[in-house]
Amino acid sequence: MSGPRSAPRYGWRPGLRVGVGLSLAVFPVAVSFGALATTLGWPPVATIVCSAVVFSAGGQLALLTAMAAGSGVPLALGAATLINLRFLPMGVAVAGSLTGPAWQRALAAQTILDGSWAAAYQGNGRYDQLTMFGASAVQWPAWVLGTVLGVVAAPPPALVESLGLDLVFPGFFLVLLLDSFRTIPRAAWIASLAVLLTGGLLLVAPTGVAVLLSSLAAFIVLIGRNRSGPGHPGRPGAGAGAGAGAGEPA
């Protein structure tokens, strides 16, 4: 029964509440990022600055993974960029709900995070920007502080392995991947092909190249889809958050 005392679903306060829950999920991932980056030889300050200015779990992990495997900056940036490309349609989706001149909307769009974006959706293509701001405002310090903790307490590789912490990143990628199955047509086909493609490429090409070329799986499946008939047309905004779960900061 909903009465006049029902708590509002949108606005700063509801956004902050959502953000606290999301922060609990992103914090351990941030700790793991800080620890792994330190173990792989990233300078502590650079690791923390990375979390502060990039604020994107998927992108940061892609960058770290590629660079740790010896890929150059262009390849590592390419892999990280492809992961973060999903923010493009998410930004398009919220564009009509953001107020102010273009530069102000561009700044406001920086608060787009997967969980915040989803929490701000009001239906009918509208988003509540205060909810999104509130949810993101809590996650940013959690992400940075988690990274600091990971850097400071960076456990040695043997301890990382015995504590199962080396499962955190593949596990994180796995849940994001599974989340994408819910919203992206033929995602399972795309992922299966990408697994085969990447697995094979890792034997003959550098890691960064393998990651970048895994994106070809999407094109191959989409080409096959077009040849066998269009099926469901792509819906702008549909599944824009796919590939990232509520636990990913950005």
Binding site: N84, P89, A95, A106, L222
Partner: protein, 101 residues
């Protein structure tokens, strides 16, 4: 130095990706085929990153003890558990497996 260049580059790219829609497009939507391609990149890249994490260059990093943990994560995801619950359970299974072998 390369690390700093990569961090700065990714920060700028991330800013531009997020800002493009609200700053330039306003209320207009992406063309459907462009939107579909952008969406479809996510599962491909995530699967690629997953495999890289599991296998490593030339498959040198493969460690079978990760697999039971990943399997548990998949099962719990199917049961609708939260992202963090899935990962924590997977880590626990991984610890147990490694303690046993």
């Amino acid at each position: 130095m390369n690390i700093w260049i990569a961090i700065a580059g990714l920060a700028v790219i991330n800013f531009v990706i997020k800002a493009t829609g609200p700053a330039l497009l306003g209320d207009r939507a992406l063309p459907p085929h462009v939107s579909l391609i952008v969406h479809s990149m996510a599962p491909a890249l995530l699967a690629g990153l997953l495999i890289v994490q599991i296998l490593g260059q030339d498959w040198r990093d493969f460690d079978w003890t990760l697999l039971p943990g990943l399997a548990v994560i998949g099962v719990l995801w199917l049961l609708g558990r939260s992202q963090i619950a899935c990962i924590v359970a997977g880590v626990i299974v991984c610890i147990v497996i490694r303690a046993l072998v």
